[in-house]
Amino acid sequence: MFFTDPIFSTTIWASSLMCLTAALMGVIAFLQKRSLIGETLSHATYPGVLIGGWIFSLFFADSFLGVILGSVSFSTAALFSLRYLEKKRVSQDASLCFVLSTFFALGVLIASRLQTVKASLYQQIQVYLFGQTATMRDEHVVIYAGLSLIIGAFLILFFPRIKLLLFDKEYARGKLKHTFWNSALSLLFIVSICIGIRTVGIVLMSGMLIAPAVFARAFTNRLSHLFLIAGTFGAMCGFLGNILSIVFSLPTGPVIALLGCVSAVGALIFSPKRGVLFRTVRILKFRLHTMEENLLKSIFKKEGASLAELNDFHPIHPYFLKLALTRLKRDRFLQSSRGIYSLTPEGNRKAVRIIRIHRLWEVYLTEFMGQSVEKVHRSAEEMEHIITPEIESRLTDLLSNPRKDPHGAPIPGRHDESILG
């Protein structure tokens, strides 16, 4: 029913478009590691929104254009103040905080005056604090959508230049009109904020700048994909947030921002490439793999061992020990009879190979890296689980197939099944 309802349909689409724009510009700020600047610039729009709205309301029936102009100019002023403070060597976090609250204080001062002079206008303008979509009129929708499209078009048209600006600053500084492009990007950033505050609100605007970028970054390394994913995600947050806020009659901005933040955190946890969940699984798998190979080694050296003996040697939780042993048995490297684990021929070969790699690496470290003999064991303990057969054969060639390791112990040949002294 929300899709067909004429009041909501256009405004919701416009609102999604506004969030999309914010998401795109947010990606740029995110890559410059300056995400928090959006927080300051959005709060700085508050006095602009009030003054612009107020002045325009004296001359026109609709104060809407004044709000945009005012917010853009005050936000720009805040940006210049930040630059000035940076020149004066005020640390960045302090200047962000200070400019933010000073500009906001100016807004609160003006608001307190407006409240007594023009209470109705004050009420209208207060919606910019937390955002409201439903009260947008058709001409507003057109202007907001138009501005969003302009920003989107700019990003698509000048994509290669933006890429250069973001990733190759040194080159950009020399070759391109560096200041011009940077100012253009800053202006677009500000405009996207000033558009976005209508639907997300001044206080939570920075959420809509940051969340889509974080979300997209969890899935891709490519800039073009980053823009695509962040933009789509931003638009979806705007769309769903609006609908949810209507259904539960909640303020629009917080719903959109919460939606964005929660999904971004979800992406950080569950994304297949960079998500923490899959990373942890990968790490645990590797640990288990290392554990298994170490167990093979110690059973090989002891020529069979019981669970208790193994646990003495590998002080880990018995559960993990049993897990590793079960997996080894499943892979036919181990067999057990009456509580004593011993190696199968296959397990024997594997254990010998691990020892071979360990000793090869020790030779490599002493001969080619100039490490002293006492120090090489620890590194070899780690490398023996990592080195692939290709690297093994390269090492053999490089070291001209050595027979003794630095400690004097024999190195088994590639196809040996035991270590002969």
Binding site: L36, L96, L100, L109, V214, P254, L258, L268
Partner: protein, 315 residues
């Protein structure tokens, strides 16, 4: 009858001196609203000046910005935990205050750290993500719980005129907390701020004092909640320190100067607000005037310093 009624800027100070004299000689009567505002803003500046210095030295001011947003969620959660039928923002009692301060400090700092360390997110983005998420959750919960859509804007803007004598109590308590903490742990704070490695070798837990500072900060923000709102309090934390930093390089001087600057800004701000009301018949937000005064102090000192540097003014 409020004796400050109709007084202009200078008249305000004369009346104030007169009233202080009366109080000193034991002939004072009830506090009037201007004095209440002055006391609360003054104590707030004192608290903020003390902990603001340490916050800024550790480059934690954006974390303070986060806290200023997340205390709303802290308050809501505490109120729900204490099973109050409705959240009454008119009076925040000490129990709720301490609970909320603890919860919001732990949530904000803990989550931000979790995001940077475990989820490997860059720091600026984790700060932004945490506080916007928690703040929007706070606003939504407040709206659902109280079906009052005004709390959000009120918490952001604050209102000095709606202050009550009970606010004086809570802000006094917070001031005492801050003073006690800084007096007791001055050296620990100093060492952990300037030389975390030395602190570690001396056996001072950097993490503990990090969280203690965050707790103090969130308690102070909550104390400021009703008076100036959660955003303007940032200026109280940051502004006087920046000005004091221009004037001195010694921590002890800064710790003395920044509360002083804050208090003087509060005095000027309250007087200006009264002046505008009396002379131009304009009721203005006192909190924002104080913040703008703090900003003006900074700009004035900065200009003076630059002029002296360019030899336009002889030292």
């Amino acid at each position: 009858m409020n004796p400050y009624w109709g007084k202009d800027f200078l008249g305000f100070f004369f009346t104030l001196f007169e009233r202080v004299f009366l109080f000193m000689t034991g002939r004072g009567d009830a506090l009037f609203s201007d004095e209440l505002q002055l006391l609360i803003l003054g104590m707030l500046s004192l608290s903020c000046g003390l902990i603001g210095a340490f916050l800024l030295l550790r480059k934690m001011s954006m974390l303070a910005n986060s806290l200023s947003h997340t205390v709303l969620l802290g308050i809501v959660i505490t109120c729900i935990l204490f099973r109050f039928a409705d959240i009454d923002m008119q009076s925040i009692d000490l129990k709720i205050l301490m609970g909320a301060a603890l919860i919001s400090a732990l949530l904000t700092a803990g989550l931000t750290e979790l995001f940077t360390k475990l989820l490997r997110l860059q720091e600026d983005a984790s700060i932004g993500l945490v506080f916007t998420g928690l703040f929007s959750l706070g606003v939504i919960l407040v709206t659902l719980y109280t079906s009052n859509s005004h709390i959000g804007p009120e918490s952001v803007m604050g209102n000095v005129d709606a202050l009550h004598i009970s606010d004086l109590k809570s802000i006094f308590f917070i001031l005492m907390l801050n003073v006690a903490a800084v007096a007791l742990f001055y050296r620990q704070f100093q060492i952990t701020s300037f030389d975390p490695v030395l602190a570690k070798t001396l056996g001072i837990s950097v993490t503990f004092f990090h969280y203690l500072l965050l707790f103090l900060c969130s308690a102070t923000v909550i104390g400021a909640f009703r008076a100036v709102g959660v955003i303007l309090v940032l200026a109280f934390l940051v502004g006087p320190f920046l000005t004091a930093r221009l004037l001195s390089h010694k921590l002890k001087h800064i710790l003395f100067l920044s509360p002083l600057l804050g208090i003087s800004a509060s005095l000027i701000g309250v007087a200006l607000s009264r002046h505008f009301l009396s002379v131009f018949n304009m009721p203005l937000s006192t909190g924002s005037i104080v913040v703008l005064t703090i900003a003006a102090q900074f700009v004035a000192v900065l200009t003076y310093k630059s002029l002296r540097k360019s030899k336009l003014i002889k030292a």
